[in-house]
């Protein structure tokens, strides 16, 4: 195995520790925790087990897509509620599904260039809080009515009312639709699945595997220390990812109808990621910070890459950025011992695997001599993924890095990649080595 050469100079950046909340499936109405509540629930126990105070960070960065009105710049609100002190700078990042990884990447670059030594980087999302959104013309109507001063003006403004203004739009639906192509995320999975010959049966089988792997990990206690229980105000204890179906089976999934493109589609609710609330944090440190606080790093970030492609096939994003990061470090697919590839949809994951194995794709797109390689399924998403766990959009990127690090340690492996596709046509990848 070739030794990696980091992309450019700069100090090593260590991942010291991390924790996440259980991921909670969105039910009807807002869940028990807002995005910042979630960040606080897993942040508290994480910070409690560090030898330094919450005020020791140089900054706090949080990925969050659906920011709620009461929590503008959730990174700062979370930092204050976690006791980081009023002098803590904090900002929020947003690159759709990549937000939780972007926070880590940004932190990585600050530390690498020497500006910061210790950063708390996370991701949080509460999709159950996604609002009902008024149509634009309804908003304009209300604004005009509110601004009307004289009774005559008010009558004029009121006359503009039309009944269909009363129909709000589900914000979540709009949020999951690409603005350029007008395709819902699931439709892009239908497309990539088609382009790489993924069948319904294969997608369902993959989905079942995700559930069974997560169920096993929960049973074996492999998520202890990564998942910290969350305690709601009403006394409910949330201590495990609750979207899992331990009894998942292909015959059950086969009964489901396609959810995005009826009647012929292959993507169903059963082989897609779930709508979920969750948060995750990772602590990043320079060598100096490690020495100063007596820390025991778990991993080092070797490199990262972001790639972009047509939004209609956004699901292939991971192939591009993973390939780029491997190339830059003189590595091949077979040099990676463990993979976390976010399961936006089963068909999307399988499309990526097929693209890695595709000779023409390797030559024309990845600039390789032929196919990039085959990913061993036994080393991919070993404890399940977003299909079983759920995909809280702003948090997933953070979770897959955290879980990759924990997985490398558990299996005694060294090198891994965490990668994910990003709505809008992008992909992010991090190359990580256990220490």
């Amino acid at each position: 195995m070739a030794a990696p050469t980091p992309a450019s100079g700069g100090r090593p950046v260590y991942i010291v520790d991390g924790a996440r909340t259980p991921f909670l499936k969105a039910k009807s109405g807002p869940g028990p925790f807002t995005p910042v509540d979630l960040a606080v629930q897993c942040g508290r126990p994480l910070l409690l087990r560090q030898p330094f105070a919450a005020t020791a960070f140089d900054q706090v960065i949080l990925g969050c897509v659906n920011v709620i009105a009461d929590e503008q710049n959730p990174a700062r609100v979370a930092a204050l509620r976690l006791g980081c002190g009023t002098a803590m700078t904090a900002f929020t990042v947003q690159i759709n599904c990549g937000s939780g990884m972007q926070s880590i990447d940004t932190a990585y670059r600050y530390i690498r260039e020497g500006t910061s030594d210790l950063i708390l980087a996370g991701g949080a999302e509460a999709l159950s809080y996604a609002p009902l959104v008024l149509k634009q013309d309804a908003v304009e109507f209300l604004a005009a009515l509110n601004g009307a001063k004289s009774p005559l003006d008010r009558v004029k403004a009121a006359a503009a009312f039309r009944p269909d203004m009363l129909q709000p739009v589900v914000g979540l639906e709009r949020g999951l639709t690409d603005p350029i192509t007008d395709l819902m995320m699931g439709q892009t999975a239908e497309l990539t699945g088609f382009l790489f010959g993924v069948t319904r049966e294969q997608a369902d089988a993959y989905a079942v595997e995700s559930h069974l792997r997560l169920a096993k990990a929960q049973q074996e206690g492999w998520l202890a220390g990564e998942v910290e229980p969350a305690f709601a105000r009403d006394g409910t204890l949330h201590d495990h990812d609750d979207g899992v179906r331990p009894d998942s089976a292909v015959d059950k999934l086969a009964k489901l109808k396609p959810v995005f493109e009826r009647p012929y589609g292959k993507v169903t609710a059963g082989n897609s990621s779930q709508i979920t609330d969750g948060a995750s944090w990772v602590i990043l440190a320079s060598e100096e910070a490690v020495k100063k606080h007596g820390l025991t790093p778990k991993a080092v970030i070797v490199d990262s890459d972001w790639a972009a492609l047509d939004p209609s096939i956004m699901g292939l994003g991971p192939v591009l950025c993973s390939s780029a990061v491997l190339k830059r470090n003189g590595l091949g697919v077979s040099d990676v011992e463990l993979w976390e590839l976010n399961e936006a949809f089963a068909a999307q994951v399988l499309s990526c695997l097929a693209a890695f194995e595709d000779e023409a794709f390797g030559r024309k797109v990845l600039g390789l001599g032929g196919a990039a390689g085959t990913i061993d399924r036994a080393r991919l998403n070993i404890d399940g993924g977003a299909i079983a766990l759920g995909h809280p959009v702003g948090a997933s990127g953070n979770r897959i890095v955290l879980h990759l690090v924990n997985g490398l340690h558990r299996l005694g492996l060294k090198r891994g990649i965490a990668t994910e596709c990003i709505g809008g046509g992008q992909g992010g990848a991090m190359l990580i080595e256990a220490v």
Partner: protein
Amino acid sequence: MAFDAQHDLVLQALKDRERDLGPRPAEGVTSPWKTWTLARDGDNYAWALLDLPGTSANTLGDQVLEELDSLLGTLEQNRPAALIIRSAKAGGFIAGADVSQFVGASDPAEIEARMTRAHQITDRLEALTIPTMAVVHGYCLGGGLEIALACSHRIAVEGSTFGFPEVQLGLHPGLGGTVRLTRLIDPLQAMQMMLTGRTQPAKKAKALGLVDAVVPERHVRAAIKAAVEGKLPHAKLTLRARVIDSGPARAVVARQMRAEADKQAPHDHYPAPYALIELWEKHGGDPKAMKAAEIVSFAHLMTTGTAQNLIRVFFLREKLKGLAGKPPEVRHVHVIGAGAMGGDIAAWCAWQGLRVTLGDVKPEPIAGAIRRAAELYDKVGHGAPLKVRDALDRLIPDPKSEGIAHADLVIEAAPENLDLKHRIYAGVEPKMKVGAVLASNTSSIPLQKLREGLQRPERLVGLHFFNPVSRMQLVEVIRHDQLDPKVEAFARGFAGMIDRLPAPARSEPGFIVNRALTPYLQEALIMLDEGVAKETLDKAAEQFGMPMGPIELTDTVGLDIALDVSEMLKRDLNLPGPDAPDWLKQKVADKHLGRKTGEGLYVWKGGHPVKAKGAPAPDPDMADRMILPMINTCVALLREGAAEDADVIDAAMIFGSGFAPFRGGPLHYAKARGVAEVRAKLAELADKYGERFKPDAGWGSFT
């Protein structure tokens, strides 16, 4: 703020600009008064600043009033455009009258004379023709509120609170407050305020019309100007309020008020609410007559046993607060055990601003504790969502007990099992910070046993809380002969820090409160066995003045705990008297434990016991049979030197078990009733019912 509150550097640097106390007096000029300073600003407004030397709170005493009179004289000679009255104290405006001036009052005529003089002074303030305004920050209570009411305007700074707590001292307002309040705002609301003694937050005070504006500190000057220029809207009395002000209407309302008051404060024991109601009913329409009658009524109440005893209770509270001393350096508390007590203690500490980690062997009890904490915070937070959120952020569930390494104080509130506690301490002690203190909430295990096996037994102290922690202010601070005095001081200081009252006690069985309460509860069970109805027994104790009868109390504490304590006391102190009855042990075995299981001695529905109607009225002797053993035990405790003095024992009983406050405490009651008489009664009961009533040897030296 959540944990590790770091005071913002920028805010700290600007702190001295936060409050606007008006113009500085001219250079080199010293004030002719000790408690007041007077200065004029650019608009020719006079600012009178009240700042009692040598204390952190302003109170209204003779000196303050006489100097105010002199100050008013100065203003009458050289009229300003307006007068502003403010307090220079950080905590608030005026906390009320100087209560120490009331102690031992026995001559109504003398009190009337003093109050008449005080009225003259506030009347003089009211009579000023210029606009006068009280600018209030923080608390404004009792006599302080009466000064504010004598002004033409009241401006409240955000966060201020207003109230007439006199009824809690067995009095009612006596400096014109009964008249001025019922004429300023809706008389019914005014009467409610005075009858309950409850404090109103600034917003509520504005809604009532009690204050004219609520502003943040930065707009005080502008609000003053608006008031002087007549631009502040004055609240007007509603039509309903005017109608109620008529004689016949007052009579109807007064009847209702009396019925309500009777539910909380029976007339025999608490004359003040009824005196107030009568005062308003008779004179409500005639301010001059009402003021005169107020003075007479106030003076009379001051000399009643109830008022003197409630004033005594006020000072008992101050005494225990004084025992707290300096607050220690505590930022983080770890609580072991998320049961009813542990969860409660943790919730209370977090509410008081501490970071608290709450551990337990399982996460489920912690989740239950969080729910109970959220419910408590909603109640005491008066729906202030940010305060509730911040307190919940500070209350950290800690199933892995990571908090121990950060804690300045570890409080163990695990089940009462010596082996279990030893095992807990063995695991905890090595993780604790060097200077941290280990405390136990044990009620029945001696600290001499608990400390066995500890590397540093000198830092183990008892912190015995009462249930529910948010309402029962007492904490028994338990010492043993190896305890480091600094740790004992730490524990007392900690109790004060979380707004509780420390009663230092020795590590002897039952400490103070449980030891004294147990014979009371036991005797009730004996009488129950004799065939007396439980409702009758409870009624007898309530008529004496206990907030809750012994049967209801036993159910509330829990039959299992009551049984445990009584068996422990009997065994460890070799007390005479019968063993606990078999039927009680059976009930415990059957898990009929009282309120917490829905049934014990009573059946409980919706948090209240279901009491049968028509139970026979109590015999006159019944109360004595239950109460006198309690008093006998207090005398024993005094003799044994279990507490510093009789006052601490009385205070512990009042604040830990609710012993009839209007009686001033069990030992005080014995003195008031007559030591010889009580002793003789005990001897008589001993003859009749058994050795357990035998007067303790301590009666000999108890005077």
